[in-house]
């Protein structure tokens, strides 16, 4: 529980109604979307302004109380689970779109803004914000920035990081500063914008962000390529890229994922298929048509059973919405779904898909795979039950081997979900001891007392690297 003096101080800053330490509130902010992680914070605090955040951080820094900035709690790496207690900072009172600048093509927002609401607002002005994490209807921009979220359009447009021009940051010592600005070019000093994007709330608190917008693409086409062989689908992915076509979206879903998604969405997905590719291209009409023809030809060469272009915008939207529900729909099958996002170079997607299936067989666990195949970013998802301790051990072994394989192929342990607490034991596999040391140095420079989201990113103990056996 929060010390009563500290509580009084916090109430003095944000007002009585914005500090809550009832068991109801503490429980409701004890989790995010990561299975098997839950821990009650000491209090939930809802600041109204940057100034209030500054004062809160100062109090917490002086009293060495952990601070966990949280958006809508949809992350998948236990990034906002307050595993060491402390204060959860909630930004539902700092949720305004401050400005849409049509001359500089930027939008400036507070961290609590819901991603989709911002996207809608800029689209009304004919502008486009490409990062589209599957949770965008729920997630906040603050959450997206801290996790450096990806999405379905990452292949052509990149991820959140590529659209952040400047931020306002509060450090634990109470210092407030701005980085970047509405600038296409800016090399004044270290690129702190990029450092904070994806820092998972471990360095400071982002209280404002200016994001880059692009003109709305003229047109968009969506197609579904159906395969009765999972390898053929995976090979198509590498071949499309090798043919110098970069679609906006190139998603992969395997057979079991298709089944559960169809069970939920009921839009007539081909549940008989072994795998499908969901492909989207946007841009000028003639370019889109030319690219789609080329992609269609490649799919057919790689033995797709059929390739269909969506007939209407509604049909296209339904396909993408269905894809976004994949993870949660998989939860229909078993009580617990544990998903990873091992990522490999695009050319290695087919090898990775094959390895995942072999590893699942080896450990006798059920793994479904879907994901942003065009990005080399797969989401192997394991259907299990946390109550089955024996199986859980095997699941962990399987995932360790998947990580190791990804790294062996020149990939990484996480493409877009973040390290959080969940993957922290494996960070060293990717970075090496020296890499971790460099990162720890950075962390200490910004947050010497270690109050910012403790327990995340850096593990107390790193896992011993497994030797890949497949």
């Amino acid at each position: 529980m929060l010390d009563s003096n500290v509580k009084e101080l916090l109430i003095g800053i944000v007002g009585e109604g914005n500090v809550n330490d009832s068991s109801e509130s503490r429980l409701a902010y004890s989790y995010d979307a990561t299975p098997n992680f839950q821990s009650l914070p000491d209090a939930v605090v809802m600041p109204n302004s940057t100034e209030e955040v500054r004062k809160i951080l100062k109090v917490c820094n002086d009293c060495q109380i952990p601070v966990v900035p949280r958006g809508s709690g949809t992350n998948l790496c236990a990034g906002t689970c307050p595993t060491e207690g402390g204060v959860v900072l909630v930004f539902n009172k700092m949720n305004r779109i401050l400005e849409i600048d049509e001359e500089n093509l930027t939008v400036t927002v507070q961290p609590g803004t819901i991603t989709q609401e911002m996207i809608k607002a800029v689209e009304e002005k004919g502008l486009f914000y490409p990062p589209d994490p599957s949770s965008m209807k729920i997630s906040t921009i603050g959450g997206n920035l801290n996790e450096n979220s990806g999405g379905l359009r990452g292949l052509k447009y990149g991820v959140t990081r590529d659209y952040v021009l400047g931020i306002q940051v509060v450090l634990p010592n109470g210092n407030v500063f701005r980085t970047g600005g509405k600038l296409a070019k800016d090399v004044a000093g270290y690129d702190l914008t990029r450092l904070f994007v994806g820092s998972e709330g471990t360095l400071g608190v982002i209280t404002e962000a200016t994001l880059k917008l692009v003109p709305m693409p003229e047109t968009k086409k969506t197609m579904l390529a159906i395969y009765d062989d999972i390898d053929a689908a995976a090979k198509t992915v590498s071949k499309i890229i090798a043919n110098k076509v970069i679609p906006a979206t190139l998603e992969f879903l395997d057979h079991p994922t298709l089944e559960v998604v169809e069970d939920f969405a009921k839009i007539g997905l081909p549940t008989y298929a072994e795998a499908v590719l969901l492909i989207e291209q946007d841009g000028a009409l003639e370019v889109v048509e030319r690219d789609m023809e080329k992609i269609m030809r490649i799919c057919e060469e790689e033995h797709a059973i059929s390739v269909d272009v969506a007939k209407s915008d509604e049909e296209a939207a339904a396909l993408c919405t269905a894809r976004r529900s994949a993870l949660s729909a998989l939860a229909r099958m078993k009580p617990t779904t544990i998903l990873e996002d091992a990522t490999v170079p695009r050319s290695k997607v087919a090898q990775m898909v094959k390895a995942v299936n072999e590893i699942a067989g080896k450990y006798d666990v059920k793994i479904c795979t879907f994901g942003h195949a065009g990005d080399g970013n797969l989401h192997p998802t394991c259907m299990t039950d946390v109550r089955d301790k024996d199986e859980l051990k095997r699941v962990e072994k399987a995932f360790e081997e998947i990580f190791a394989k990804a790294i062996e192929l020149g990939g990484t342990i996480t493409g877009e979900h973040g390290v959080g607490e969940m993957k922290s034991p494996y960070l060293e596999w990717k970075l090496g001891r020296e890499g971790i040391e460099a990162m720890r140095g950075l962390k200490a420079a910004f947050d010497p007392n270690g109050i910012m989201n403790p327990g995340k990113m850096f593990a107390k103990d790193s896992r011993k690297r497994v030797v890949v056996g497949v």
Binding site: E24, R26, A28, D385
Partner: protein, 435 residues
């Protein structure tokens, strides 16, 4: 009851697999009216409430006053269910938890007596429902209503009660309520044989709407039976923590409708239909009722679905030129899965410009007795709803459930729009359009 025994009981009654089935992705959050109305307060969301229930079961928190308040703040609209990719049956968890809380709650004596009268003596018994409505009829006809409204005596008791009283429909006379049809024949060729669920409130206060429903079914080509021994569906009971009584009512209804050769059992109230269509779940612990409830449930349909199936929308339907908007009944949409058919029927009427209201799929705040027990939240939601309704510039707001209908009337009145906007049940609109 001590907190530990309450905890124990919740542990026994709540389906742990269902609690685990929520993987906390948060896809439900934007659909939840109370989450939106509370500035995105996590405990007031479906994900939050499930976590609270699981937290109690796991022993992480106690079932304290906050816990109970939070469960009571839920409208029970179940908008979170169709958007849940994992398919969590939130409504079932809520109902079970509320039942435990209600059974263990120490109500004050007057409340206890009132609950017994309403739940055991009034709604389950048709003749008493008629008698009560008869009293309201007398009240309306005798001029007493005028006096009450002028003096504002009800406002002293409760602002909402006063407002509710003023929007009650004209109650049919006791004689009319007694002479209900039992069986009517199709007009022309018989396409379907159906049984009609008349309900308690619908067959008294909204009797004209029931009559309209039966007439529409005849026009669509249905032979219609209205079993005499049927009774209240039990929804009010099930949602208020009176599950045992709800089960008794369900069994009587299943018996009443066990007749050969009936294609469908039809309801015209989303609130009733949603419970009727879940009788199999309600009686899941009673194996001897498994088959009987399954048969009943399989035949359950909302009237709008059957009318579309029988191509009623292809008939010559017309009304004076007007804009119409449709407010979904939550339980019709989220539990019975009916949302397209009513819209299709309304769009088929010549002279009607159909305009979809923003957030038509979100609860209006009526939610059974929610608008009486959670006035502030209910009115907050209703005022938002009316703002969206006004944006459509519709002269007619159509609904498919009596609770929603009264709430719409209340909303129209609150906004001071009573002279230019009316709220009606869909079957009344259709009957007017076909004549």
């Amino acid at each position: 009851m001590s907190k530990t025994t309450m905890q124990q009981e919740l542990k026994e009654r709540l389906d742990y697999d269902e609690l685990m089935n929520c993987m906390r992705c948060g896809f439900c959050l934007p659909s939840c009216p109370t989450y939106t109305q509370t500035d995105l307060n996590e405990p007031a969301s479906p994900r939050g409430r499930i976590a609270l229930m699981k937290g109690v079961v796991d022993g992480l928190i106690e079932p304290d006053e906050d816990f109970e308040k939070q469960l009571n703040l839920c409208l029970g609209c179940r908008a979170c269910e169709p958007v849940c990719p994992s398919g969590v049956k939130y409504g079932h968890l809520l109902e079970e938890a509320r039942d435990v809380l209600a059974q263990r709650k120490k109500y004050s004596l007057p409340v206890k007596v009132l609950r017994r009268v309403v739940f055991d003596e009034l709604f389950p018994k048709k003749d008493r429902m008629r008698r009560l409505n008869g009293l309201i009829w007398a009240y309306q006809k005798s001029g007493l209503q005028g006096v009450t409204q002028k003096t504002g005596v009800l406002k002293v008791i409760s602002r909402n009660l006063a407002e509710m009283e003023s929007i009650l429909p004209d109650i049919p006379s006791p004689k009319q309520m007694k002479n209900r049809p039992i069986e009517v024949r199709a007009n022309g060729e018989v396409k379907k044989k159906v049984a009609f669920f008349s309900g308690c409130l619908m067959d008294t206060m909204f009797m004209k709407t029931n009559d309209a429903s039966i007439e529409l079914l005849q026009l669509a080509g249905c032979d219609v039976w209205i079993p005499e021994t049927q009774n209240c569906c039990g929804a009010l009971h099930a949602h208020s923590g009176e599950k045992e009584q709800a089960k008794r009512l369900a069994k009587r209804n299943i018996e009443a409708f066990e007749m050969e050769g009936v294609d469908y059992i039809i309801s015209n109230a989303g609130g009733c239909g949603a419970l009727l269509v879940e009788y199999d779940h309600l009686l899941k612990d009673e194996p001897e009722w498994k088959e009987r409830s399954r048969k009943f449930v399989e035949k359950m349909k909302d009237i709008s679905e059957v009318l579309v199936e029988l191509e009623f929308h292809k008939k010559d339907l017309s009304l004076l030129p007007q804009t119409i908007t449709y407010q979904d009944s939550c339980h019709l949409r989220n539990v019975m899965g009916t949302s397209g058919a009513p819209r299709q029927l309304l769009k088929a009427i010549k002279g009607v410009t159909y305009k979809e209201m923003k957030g038509a799929d979100q609860c209006c705040g009526s939610a059974g007795v929610y608008n009486l027990v959670q006035q502030d939240m209910s009115m907050q939601i209703l005022d938002d709803k009316m703002r969206h309704a006004k944006e459509t510039e519709a002269q007619t707001i159509v609904t498919a459930n009596p609770g929603c209908l009264l709430q719409m009337k209340l909303g129209v009145k609150r906004k001071g729009l009573d002279h230019k906007v009316k709220a009606v049940h869909i079957v009344d609109v259709l009957l007017e359009a076909v004549h």
